[in-house]
């Protein structure tokens, strides 16, 4: 083993690991990031899925990147640019009478004046409420039931933020924050297509249906970075590459194809990490951007933890229920009734809320949706670096596809792909004939490609009971863990998933604060 003086090892070069590395390197720390894959980015990557066709293999839309991270790490000057910003959403109707949603403006689908007005109000209060969450996102969550002053100040600030919304908004926020989006949309709107599309915001990437509680919270969380949807030029990998460049310039060493197989202990303190090839790297500080189950039960091992804590980690809900479809297309697809200008929007197949709920029903019993909900993007329309000339890439999020499929994914995957393509073909006749290559990542594939337990993008369900000081579990919710020298910085920690970087930034701050106070919680 080598000397561990002041040396920090970060496990995983996903966006959070890279953000954390950049901040710590910027603070003068010697940082090494170890990434198992051959390229940086984790689930925020661009990769080839068919010869000449590239796609954002995990997340495909950017709408949560922490503004502080952007600014403090000067990402815009680090080669990060966008092929699309403030993207609109088109809710597809089978008859071609689609609904265009642009912020709070609605167009098409015979939308009523009432719905138009209601949308203005809905958009206003949802963004206002999301602002409360926004102010929590880039803060280390306070601990409850402590006598620590900073914890109390942080809690008081949160209460004050809610109170400052005024009586009516505060009451409404407290009323809806924990309930389901089905009820809230039902209260506000008439148009089924509109409700179907908006309900998607409450369930995308999660293991929830519109009638599940926490779906309003998820919708608020998705809005909480208060920015429009965008596509990075070169795909999502461009974000990770920019972060890696910044971290590298600040002095962080990033090693790819370096798979950490376990975290080493010396007594009750972290002593280093061991790589799959047997190489050992000594360090007294390991920060893991892997999900909490992988970190604690896989890399560290339950026997180095106390049993009550292990039980809590085991009980983290993180079962993926989302698949990712990538199609290489020969030519531009055509959607019934969709104007060429709208083809580059975010296209949704969620014709009404009951459709979405029914799609979810199957997954509760270990079956995939017969008629799934789909979020489609055609990134190559905006970015010709992704596909050969005249050809296109279709990237779609497909729900629901449960991690534990009763019939087994190896047996059923081909059927599911066919079914999804048939469904999209219904909206885009002739699509099938244009397909040159297809790839579908089930949660099991996501688990193995991105090393996320359960294939859950967010490293743990986004829910009020797994948020703030409860994420991932109490006693590791302030990025420090019960094990001396082991920290978390991934999406499994507060605030959660999405290409955001807040967890990485908060974790770096937590590590620095603990170091400053001599190893104790500040």
């Amino acid at each position: 083993m080598t000397n561990s003086n002041n040396h920090i090892v970060i496990v995983g070069a996903g966006h959070n690991g890279l953000v954390c590395a950049a901040y710590l390197a910027g603070a003068g720390k010697k940082v090494t990031v170890l990434e198992a894959a051959a390229q940086v980015g984790g689930a925020a990557i661009t990769r080839e899925f068919a010869p000449g066709f590239n796609v954002s293999a995990g997340a495909h839309l950017l709408f949560m990147l922490d503004k502080k991270v952007r600014k403090e790490l000067s990402l815009e000057t680090a080669d990060l640019s966008f092929s699309q910003q403030n993207m609109k959403t088109t809710a597809l109707a089978e008859d071609g009478n689609h609904l265009l949603i642009s912020g709070d403006a609605l167009q098409g689908a015979n939308i009523s004046d009432n719905d138009r007005l209601a949308m203005k109000e809905y958009w206003r209060f949802m963004n206002r409420f999301a602002g409360v969450i926004n102010r929590l996102n880039n803060r280390i969550p306070p601990r409850i039931a402590t006598r620590n002053r900073s914890d109390w100040i942080s809690l008081a600030k949160t209460a004050l933020n809610i109170r400052l919304m005024g009586k009516d908004d505060m009451r409404e926020f407290l009323r809806i924050a924990g309930i389901n989006i089905y009820d809230v949309l039902q209260e506000n709107f008439d148009n089924p297509l509109l409700k179907g599309a908006l309900s998607m915001d409450g369930v995308l990437g999660t293991n929830l249906g519109p009638r599940s509680n926490n779906s309003v919270f998820c919708a608020l969380y998705r809005l909480s970075s208060l920015q429009g949807m965008a596509m990075p030029k070169g795909g999502m990998g461009a974000v990770s590459n920019a972060l890696a460049n910044v971290a590298g310039k600040l002095g962080a060493v990033i090693r790819t194809s370096a798979t950490v197989s376990r975290i080493l202990m010396d007594g009750d303190h972290v002593a280093g990490v061991e790589l799959q090839d047997g190489e050992q790297i000594a360090t007294d500080t390991v920060i893991s951007s892997a999900d909490p189950k992988t970190t604690f039960l896989g890399l560290l091992g339950a026997r180095n933890l106390e049993a009550g804590f292990v039980r809590k980690v085991q009980n983290i809900r993180m079962r993926g229920n989302v698949a990712k479809l990538h199609l290489a297309l020969d030519g531009t697809p055509e959607f019934k009734g969709l104007h060429q200008d709208q083809l580059g929007d975010r296209l949704l197949i969620a014709p009404d809320m009951d459709y979405v709920e029914r799609a979810f029903n199957h997954s509760k019993y270990g079956e995939y949706s017969i008629k799934p909900v789909v979020e489609i993007t055609l990134p190559s329309l905006h970015d010709d670096s992704l596909a050969p000339p005249g050809k296109h890439v279709l990237s779609a999020v497909v729900q629901y596809a449960p991690y534990q499929l009763k019939a087994g994914w190896p047996e059923k995957k081909a059927d599911f792909i066919n079914q999804v393509i048939d469904l999209v073909e219904g909206y885009a006749p002739g699509l099938r004939s244009k397909i040159l290559h297809e790839e579908l990542l089930t949660p099991v594939d996501i688990e193995s490609e991105f090393r996320i337990t359960g294939g859950h993008w967010h490293h743990g369900e986004l829910a009020l009971d797994q948020f703030l000081m409860l994420r991932p579990v109490p006693h590791s919710a302030q990025y420090a863990s019960p094990v001396n020298g082991l920290f978390l910085c991934g999406a499994g920690s507060h605030p959660g998933g999405g290409v955001m970087g807040s967890a990485g930034r908060n974790a770096a701050n937590a590590v620095l604060a603990i170091e400053k106070s001599g190893g104790q919680h500040p």
């Binding site: 007594g267 009750d268 039960l297 026997r303 106390e306 049993a307 009550g308 804590f309 039980r311």
Partner: protein, 410 residues
């Protein structure tokens, strides 16, 4: 044997084959022998078993134990078989002490805690063989023990109902077992385990007990329970053998200074009120906490407690007068309330009113003069006395024969 697979905790059990399906409570495999001796016809409960308070007179039973020997039915005690490659590291993570110090063929006392360093229960670890242990305790803990298996190659089996057990305690216990034909029994040292052939079965004997006296505990399959009882009483007939119930045991264990769950502490997982649990330090069991182990349940919290100090001291009180100070408050000489009595009895051997008490720190220094408030009733009239009490360090009854090997025949 009721084996529980940790991955599938709930297994259908055919209740129709279980006695308690009809009786709502198990009868011990010794029941047919206990029942005729139970002149009082009063039965208490120990978990899901019938357990006699007393057979005839608890004081007589007490004296039988201190002067001859008594038989107490231990079957209701929780018994967990822990085996497999990781049995030792598993136990070391579970309990606070270093388990590797309990050699094969030996028994060790231990306590285990929740993550917050608060006691769940105390008990004994029997090191039966290589990677083979039995954990015994008063309360049931299968769920916690299975929770602890994650990450270990270990098999945990609840064998409470598959092992019948008797405690034979008192000065004539050794000679009784010798009479019964257990050759070499007199060579067993305190905390030793030995196996004997017995009526075509295997009888395990440990030199352990809960009375603070010379004594043994006998472990056998339930099919041989009755013959063991019969042979024991036959062998001990001329040595004053008696059956003993729980009331006498309470007097004995308080004299010996032994703590008991639900008296001196509440099991952490069954305690809902914050602050109502106790740490090993607060139970006087700091000597069982080994911080040289890199990890065990409660370690971090106990390290903090060691640094910042604990809240309570558990002490032994020698109290003036002859009235047991049950459930009494404890006061300083200046009438400041500083604690409560957790267990109290008149000690016939020490000829004193004695108690175990929990006191707020810094109280509990040896020799400290205190007061206990005793309420007592005479023909419906209540009286109150503020009795003087002193903190003492020695246990109230500690005969050398407990440790002497070989023990005298008496």
């Amino acid at each position: 044997m009721r084996q529980i697979n940790p991955k599938n905790k709930i297994q259908a059990i055919d209740l129709s084959t279980k006695a308690h399906y009809r009786t709502k409570v198990y009868q011990s495999p010794f029941y047919t022998r206990q029942e005729p001796l139970n002149h009082l016809k009063e039965w208490g409960r120990w978990a899901d078993y019938l357990s006699p308070h007393a057979y005839t007179c608890s004081v007589m039973e007490y004296f039988a134990c201190r002067n001859a020997c008594t038989v107490f039915d231990l079957t209701p005690m929780s018994k967990y078989h822990i085996s497999g490659k990781d049995a030792l590291p598993y136990l070391n993570r579970l309990v606070t002490r270093e388990v590797s110090k309990i050699k094969q063929g030996r028994v060790g006392y231990c306590i285990w805690c929740a993550d917050d360093g608060q006691a769940i229960d105390d008990g004994t670890i029997f090191h039966l063989g290589e990677d083979d242990y039995r954990l015994c305790s008063q309360e049931r803990h299968l769920d916690w023990l299975l929770t602890n298996t994650v990450g270990f190659e270990v098999k945990v089996t609840d064998e409470t109902h598959e092992v019948a057990a008797l405690a034979l305690q008192g000065p004539t216990s050794c000679v009784t077992l010798k009479n019964m034909g257990l050759e070499g029994i007199e060579n067993m040292k305190l905390f030793d385990i030995r196996n004997f052939q017995f009526e075509g079965s295997q009888l395990m004997v440990s030199r352990t007990g809960f009375t603070g006296d010379l004594g043994y505990e006998l472990w056998i399959d339930p099919g041989h329970a009755e013959v063991l009882w019969d042979r024991l009483f036959e062998a001990g007939r001329l040595h004053g053998i008696q059956a003993m119930g729980d009331e006498a045991l309470q007097m004995l264990r308080i004299e010996a200074g032994f703590i008991q769950c639900h008296h001196e502490f509440m099991p952490a997982h069954a305690t809902v009120r914050a602050g109502h649990t106790r740490s090993p330090f607060e139970l006087g069991l700091g000597w069982l906490v080994d911080f040289n182990k890199p990890n065990f349940n409660g370690r971090k919290a106990l390290l903090t407690e060691k640094k910042l100090g604990h809240r309570y001291n558990l002490v032994k009180l020698d109290i003036d007068g002859n009235k047991p100070a049950r459930d009494s408050y404890v006061f300083t000489k200046n009438n400041k309330q500083i604690g409560t009595v957790t267990s109290a009895t008149w000690s016939p051997s020490a000829k004193a009113s004695i108690a175990l008490a929990t006191l707020e720190v810094p109280h509990g220094e040896p020799g400290e003069e205190l007061r206990v408030e005793i309420y007592y009733q005479k023909e419906l009239k209540w009286s109150r006395v503020m009795a003087r009490a002193r903190v003492v360090t020695d246990v109230f009854y500690d005969p050398p024969r407990k440790r002497v090997t070989p023990p005298a025949d008496f």
